[in-house]
């Protein structure tokens, strides 16, 4: 079975006077139809750049991209020209953004905006478009779809806007959806609902999902597989369950320890990863995580560890846990 999304050797860099500053460093992965993979890491790790590159929103002035191919259902979209690629956006591959408030247009109703996506790709009669729009709104859980379709974005709460945005992303039933921090701006009850609806649509349409988040607990709820990213490199790739029971890379373990726990007793101390993500311009040599890593030794600072691979799981670390 071919993967619904396959990314080969994707790199993104910023052009600067002193040369290329790497933002995403030769990453490769694939997602099968109907499955969900999470891409996790702190802000500034290159997660969103990865998403933008996949969707073909890069290169732009000052930012370069290279790849051996980005395939959606076996069709390479990386080598397409801009016009051809745009014809696929929304139909074969769609994106859900972090801030529905800014991603939706304030001067059009929700119905108009969803309808526009469908019309762009499939055309059809007014009535047909309207019917599809309403069905799409119903599929994300709105029982009174007409009211939502007639509403402007500002009339909806944050969670409802995000649901409307999901309806817009799924109206053409794309093979791949990239969800960039889909629940970060929401409270916990909205978050649970959004993840539930996305999961439902994923099974229903056999969509391949790429979740991008800084929060491992979101990825745990939504995904089967997970990639942990740091400074543009994949540090660990594994399935969610093994990550939570036995993280191999010290960075993954650090991220896990940061998740606040609910419990009958208050935790004695909060743990965190010391330091912060270095800027793309001053990345340390060797393993990028070495300066923040408690297990680092001399070779970690000198050479880059390669990803081990055992049945698709692995960690790029000299001293895995």
């Amino acid at each position: 079975m071919t993967a619904a999304l396959r990314v080969k050797n994707l790199s993104v860099w910023i052009e600067s006077r002193s040369g290329r500053i790497p933002v995403v460093d030769r990453i490769s992965f694939s997602i099968k139809a109907g499955e969900a993979t999470g891409l996790v890491g702190e802000s500034g790790c290159g997660k969103t750049m990865t998403a933008r590159a996949i969707l073909g929103q890069l290169p732009v002035a000052g930012i370069g991209v290279s790849s051996d191919g980005i395939e959606v259902n076996g069709k390479d979209i990386y080598s397409l020209n801009a016009r051809r690629r745009r014809a696929l956006l929304g139909r074969d591959i769609a994106m859900i953004f972090q801030q529905p408030a800014t991603a939706l247009d304030p001067v059009f109703t929700i119905g108009q905006q969803i309808g526009a996506v469908y019309r762009r790709h499939f055309g059809g009669s007014q009535q047909n478009i309207r019917q599809t729009t309403l069905e799409s709104l119903q599929s994300v859980g709105f029982s009174r779809a007409e009211d939502i379709a007639a509403a402007y974005p500002h009339q909806l709460s944050g969670g409802m806007r995000q649901l409307a945005m999901i309806a817009m992303a799924t109206v053409c039933k794309p093979a791949v959806i990239v969800a960039d921090e889909p629940t970060t701006a929401l409270d916990s009850s909205s978050r649970a609902l959004i993840l539930q609806q996305l999961k439902h649509l994923q099974t229903l349409h056999q969509t391949a999902m790429l979740y991008i988040s800084h929060d491992l607990s979101v990825v745990r709820q939504a995904c089967r597989d997970v990639m942990v990213m740091y400074c543009g490199r994949i540090m660990e790739t594994t399935d969610c369950q093994s990550l939570f029971t036995h993280a191999r890379h010290p960075y993954s373990a650090g991220l896990l320890a940061c998740i606040p726990q609910l419990g009958a007793t208050r935790p004695a101390a909060i743990s965190s990863i010391p330091g912060q993500v270095p800027g793309a311009a001053d990345l340390p040599g060797g393993c990028h995580f070495a300066p923040r890593c408690s297990r680092a030794e001399a070779r970690c600072r000198e050479s880059v560890p390669v990803m081990t691979d055992e049945d698709g799981c692995g960690a790029a670390c000299f001293r895995p846990l």
């Binding site: 802000s43 709460s157 409270d187 916990s188 909205s190 606040p260 009958a264 743990s271 993500v277």
Partner: protein
């Protein structure tokens, strides 16, 4: 905490100290009382402790924070800071009180002025309140910067030159320069990555330990509240439905709404929780004041009485001598709890 106006003396079993901050029957509404944002809220925060205020977006948490700072004027009710009513203070007294109450916002990038250096940002509160000489003010800014884990080199830089975690540290440093007794953190870690969030929570714990600062910590995230709160108050549509010491709350949440929140926070979904229900809840105006429980429409344990009588806030566990606050809940499920009963209407 009590629903009535009778003050601390009538609190059975409570420690007889004036709380640092007390809200009594606070009501606040917008648009000519059409939207009730805060509905008869009474809360107490003891000096040196952290009260975690939880609720979904739109529950009225931030309105309370704004009222305490005097940015919103309450319709009725009292806000007492060290026993003094903030709304009856003269301008000079108010200015003094303001020095002692500071706020940290959710979005550090929006709450710091992009055109001021960190030094200018930190000096401003000191200049406004005319605290110390110019030399002392400089000392003070450096001190508070060091407290939050940044060094001198940060002083001459602008906010955009820092990461979001560092920006939040600067916002906290700004709040600290006037040596406040009460810090209100309004979703102060919600916009941050989990790893940075953990660092800021560590910082807050350290501030409390080193300076005995009292915190009103507002968040929609119960897992974050669990890390730092001594007491928890749950808000829903402007009302406080439950208040309890944190350990008790997380082991024995009493209100059905609290239990739902905890289920969500644990990554689950409560039974019978459909998106229709959720949509409806979001759509409804926060401030209806019918003779019913505010949560009745969505309560999985709803009884007939819930729809025609508003429950009163009842003590189900008294404050103890070790400084643990009482556990009270506003729900008809506890109407029959006789042992520790405390009826506000008898007072």
């Amino acid at each position: 905490m009590t629903m009535s106006m009778t003050g601390p003396m009538t609190m059975p079993g409570a420690a007889e100290t004036t709380p640092l901050l007390e809200l009594r029957d606070l009501c606040l509404s917008f648009q000519r009382q059409e939207h009730v944002a805060v509905d008869r809220v009474s809360l107490k925060i003891t000096a040196g402790r952290t009260l975690g205020l939880v609720g979904a977006s739109g529950a009225g948490k931030s309105s309370i924070a704004r009222a305490i700072l005097g940015l919103l004027k309450p319709d009725s009710g009292e806000i007492l800071f060290k026993g003094e009513n903030i709304n009856r203070m003269n301008p000079r007294q108010l200015k003094m009180a303001r020095q002692r109450i500071q706020l940290v916002f959710q979005e550090p990038s929006a709450s710091l002025s992009p055109r001021r250096t960190v030094e200018q940002t930190l000096l401003e509160p000191l200049q406004h309140f005319a605290i110390g000489s110019a030399h002392q003010q400089r000392e003070k800014t450096l001190q508070s910067l060091q407290t939050v884990g940044l060094d001198q080199s940060a002083l001459k830089r602008y906010p955009h030159q820092f990461s979001s975690g560092q920006q939040q540290r600067i916002a906290i440093a700004r709040a600290l320069v006037t040596s406040p007794e009460l810090l209100i953190a309004d979703e102060a870690v919600a916009a941050l990555d989990v790893s940075i969030q953990a660092q800021i929570l560590q910082l807050i714990q350290q501030l409390q330990r080193d300076f005995g600062i009292t915190f009103l910590f507002i968040s929609h995230d119960l897992a974050v509240i669990r890390q730092i709160a001594d007491e928890v108050a749950v808000m829903y549509r402007g009302q406080v439905l439950e208040q309890s010491p944190a350990d008790r709350f997380f082991s024995r949440p009493a209100h059905p709404y609290s239990r739902i929140l905890l289920t969500f926070a644990g990554g689950g979904t409560p039974q019978n929780w459909t998106s229709d229900k959720w949509n409806l809840e979001r759509n409804r105006n926060a401030g209806h004041r019918a003779a019913a429980c505010v949560f009745a429409g969505f309560c999985p344990e709803k009884m007939t009485v819930c729809e025609n009588t508003e429950p009163v806030l009842r003590y189900i566990q008294q404050a103890d001598l070790h400084g643990q606050g009482p556990h009270c809940v506003k729900c008809h499920l506890y109407d029959e709890v006789e042992s520790n009963e405390y009826r506000e209407n008898e007072l």
